[in-house]
Symmetry: C2
DNA sequence: CGCAATTGTATTGCGCGCAATCTAATTGAC
DNA sequence: GTCAATTAGATTGCGCGCAATACAATTGCG
């Protein structure tokens, strides 16, 4: 009987870590949206730009590995960034299968406008650097463990 | 110079935390998918069923409040659950604006098959109950803070 | 070299997630 | 009671996110 109610408790929404993550991700999105609207970016597009601001001229594959996204997501997203004149997509001459992504002048320039985003997010979170940092570490560990479990 | 790059690194933390959450949510989804496929549910549909297994006969509005989802997401999702014969949607006679969601016999029965899901997730996470529970608590605090910040 | 297997990207289809808009039902101020 | 404001859902449109599939370029094995 005690056992059964434990199984029951595990099915309760409030007890589920996954729902906490799911709903926190949505909450973050809502905080980011007004900030990113000013940059003309969606959140996944912002992630791609963050990768490119660190280093551009990389293949779609590498962006996908860093963000855990595949070509089904990235190909149309990158086409939209190209249509917005933030990036250029060119086939690699060394390996014609690869499409290399380079920032345009506008894409580089957008980095300056994006500088104030992290501070705004930090303040909306209402947490200390230490809290956020330990939370991040635990999540990355969990994520890597989950991804390893999927790969068997 | 060291100070400036440290401040910059700290500012990036909000971004990094958000990406940690974003990518962990996707990792969870990948772990859940094969388990939920056997139930014929997607993850958001599973969340709706969790709410209904706790208490059904509730309005769409209440489901939306518990899951932080709006009618644009729920209406088509609930129609798919109805098409799968897991729920029934009926207008409230007291307030004709409301649509009440009730589990069908199949919907109730599915709860039994869903009981083994949480244990499978727990094992894939590779964490102890205590770790997951404290992580969950921190995330809920952060989520509520973020949602409050959006509401100003 | 020749050909099968692999790799990188593109395409299609489906299910969210949400903003914006719409409609019908209810409430509230007077 | 009347009419404006509010509320609950539904609809539309767009951008992911991913599985499945397709295809061309490259690699590797004989």
């Amino acid at each position: 009987m005690a056992k059964k109610s434990m199984a029951e408790a595990q099915l309760m929404l409030g007890n589920q870590l996954c729902f906490a993550i799911y709903s926190t991700a949505h909450a973050f999105n809502r905080v980011y949206k007004p900030l990113l609207d000013r940059l003309g970016l969606t959140y996944p597009q912002y992630l791609v730009m963050l990768v490119l601001w660190e280093r551009d001229g990389i293949a779609v594959k590498e962006i996908g590995e860093r963000l855990f996204l595949d070509s089904g997501t990235l190909t149309p997203l990158l086409k939209r960034l190209e249509a917005a004149h933030l990036i250029r997509r060119t086939r690699s001459s060394e390996d014609e299968r690869q499409v290399l992504i380079a920032l345009s002048a506008q894409g580089h320039a957008l980095k300056e406008k994006a500088r104030k985003v992290p501070a705004a997010i930090l303040s909306a979170s209402g947490c200390s650097i230490g809290e956020l940092s330990s939370l991040r570490k635990n999540l990355v560990t969990l994520r890597d463990q989950l991804n390893a479990a999927v790969g068997e």
